[in-house]
Amino acid sequence: MQRIGVFVCWCGSNIAATVDVEKVSQVLAQEPGVVFSTNYQYMCSQAGQEMIQQSIKEYGLTGVVVCSCSPRMHETTFRKTCEKAGINPHMVEIANIREQCSWIHKDKEVGTEKAIILGRAAIAKVHLNTPLTAGTSPVVKRALVIGGGIAGIQTALDIADAGFEVDIVEKQPTIGGKMTQIDKTFPTLDCAACILTPKMVDAAQNEKIHIYSYSEVESVKGFVGNFNVTIKKKARYVDEVKCTGCGLCTEKCPQKKVPNLFNLGLDNRRAIYIPFAQAVPKVATIDADYCTMLKSGKCGVCSKVCTAGAINYQQKDEFFEQQYGAIVVATGFNPIKLDKYDEFAYSQSPDVVTSLEFERLMNAAGPTGGTLLRPSDGEHPHTIVFVQCVGSRCDDEKGKPYCSKICCMYTAKHAMLCREKYPDTDVYVFYIDVRTPGKNFDEFYRRAVEEYGVHYIKGMVGKVVPQDGKLKVQASDLLGNRQLHIDADMVVLAAAIEPDETARPLATKLTASMDTNDFFTEAHPKLRPVESPTAGIFLSGACQGPKDIPETVAQASAAAAKVIGLLCKDNLTCNPCTAEPNELMCNGCSSCEKVCPYGAITYVDKEFRGPNRTTLIRRVAQVNPAVCQGCGACTVACPSGAMDLKGFSNQQIMAEVDAICR
């Protein structure tokens, strides 16, 4: 028989206002096995903890029940308290009488009754608790960063700086991500390439960083400290080691009509290409969808002109495995597709562009060499209309419910740059709200209005009609209470941003959770913002939510700090609450193996003694406690009830249910 102590917490008035704590401790004192029961104002305070420790010694307690807040809050606290007083931490149970009781009830009588029931259940469980000891598992001192944009690069640089090996897996032929396409950055207007490309070179030259460009994560196995990842290196038909990046092949390739994705299809490139001059690695890639040689076997020009002999039309996708202690997701974002927003005539007129396309049209390395020209006729536009919130803050299924956060600032930047470079241009910005929280952000926006004379109009554009070489813009001016008709030369749409399309399948591979918008969920929205709830998975940049560059870099470094903290350890303490099969009951049906999301269950043939001194060979389940995460799926799947979770055995759960239903 256990000797159990019950400690009821008031949590100031949080619990005591709706639960009669005195009555709870008195009633629970009558439960079998309870030798001591009390209540106290703040059980988690030092005085409260000392009271628990003293009672353990005084009454020779073997088990402890704390009736307080959620175990997520203070289970670890009370377990440590009891461990110091000589009790195994797994002999402590928390009855959650705050979140699940006092906070949701108004009637004190009802709340008190429920608190007593919850306390009884915890006592019933403690009776069946056994001391558990956690094992350890080694940590592989290498990190994987998925995505090589500014987020992934910063995370990798910081981890490498602490002395750990880092691999960057990037699906594009070059690292750099969206920032490579951006012209200037707000609020300082410094050139994006000037601050990004040195970082790309740093990453490439760092001995600890290994860049796998044009590669993707194929599969992920294992667990925190010991992930086993298969990486697919897609065939680029060019030997990365031999290619010198001279670019001769990209000039001689006869296939000239390939939409240049780096410039968002605003101009064309060849079938063999280097995305842009500062690409890292600076290696050519053949676009298999357009290459005549790969499609019909006739051509081979690039192979002939390549002095390094780097072209290899026979190259195949390669797969390789690598072990990692931690994985950082940095998959970034994309602007949404605008096919549902035809009121803005995006598909009808080339002069209606997205903001990212506008970046390319303003960029010195873009299709127009940095001179702002209308895509339709190459003329200089005199009236430009910017439309904000295209697909952001949308209450129907057309767009996204959230604010994309970066659009107000980049639109102010675009408007300002237009007025600065071309003072003869009339610039209108239509907005719902201008949102500029951030250091020097509002000052920046005000400069656009006050110094640069950008016309900011509160209201939305209803329709854009391409007619007679102009874009006829119909809009509302909500503050002026009038309809506006503007004949514009260009319309720029601030499209909402959404997570990259690879994020959802990757989340499945990582068993990392996502929200309804496909942004990765953090372990705690305020207190653990760079970790995924899945141990060992960290979040960097816009894959977790819309972010501008400064915020992305801050989060990238924060994620790196968390990874370094993990990789510094030689061993990790495992969760002792793992599954355990009862071999005598197991019939080897494989049900548990099929449901195990971590691959922790295997089968072995074992000898058993049969009747009349015979031996039987039987196939039975075996759990690797280092891999098992204690999710309990197998215990439910097992048809013969052979699988049990330590600390949450079927017997323990049933005892709790019985106590509640008593």
């Binding site: 549902k340 035809d342 005539a345 598909s347 129907d396 854009v464 009609v465």
Partner: protein
Amino acid sequence: MTYSYFPGCTLKTKGKDLDRYARISATALGFELDEIPQWQCCGAVYPMSKDEIGTRLSSVRALISAKEQGRELVTLCSACHHVIKRVNGDVRNDEQIRDKVNRYLKLDDAYSGETNVLHYLEVLRDRIGFAALKEKVTNPLTGMKIGAYYGCLLLRPGKEMGFDNPENPTILEDFIRAVGADPVIYAKRNECCGGYCTIENRNYAKKQVDGIMENAKAQGAQMLITACPLCMYNLKENATDGLEVKYFTELLAQALGLKEE
């Protein structure tokens, strides 16, 4: 296949062509439109106030009639379709409206939105199929550049009408292709024609119509087609220098070789 049919008041007076050509084309395409007995006005304008019940009752009577016949209800006039379809959605989804409607009508058999409301165009697209329609065309309108004019009521609100993408519709363009002509896409094809203010503010309606015509002409349209009698009136009467406007059913009958010259 026989459908219950609600023609609506305009189709018996100003919009006879819309109705007549629809009926003969239906027979040729192998479906029948059976006019529901003793139908009355659809209610004319969908009431925006939640507790307005009288207007809704008119539509509900037509819906019940179709339910009793055990058929789907087909409409033609954009306005009727708009009102009937939305009222049916109300009865289906709004408990209060459903309750009130049933109390007013004192029905033995409660109505809760069982009838499926279809526009004639939906029958062509989803039941006959534009590909099958194309095969039945004997007199293809080859070379004609036709602009589809949707107006406001047929498509919106997109969620409730469930008809087509309100900002980038395709159903009429697909129809134009099926009868052998070339659709002309122009931005103002789903703008309001100003029909509702033609009495109160004729100049405004004129401005709207001229804008639509100008836009359609600029994109190369030689003719407009519509499904709405109100748009038809407005586009014809209020245009300064307008294009020819026809009901889509007239075009259909013409392509099927049913139109007497």
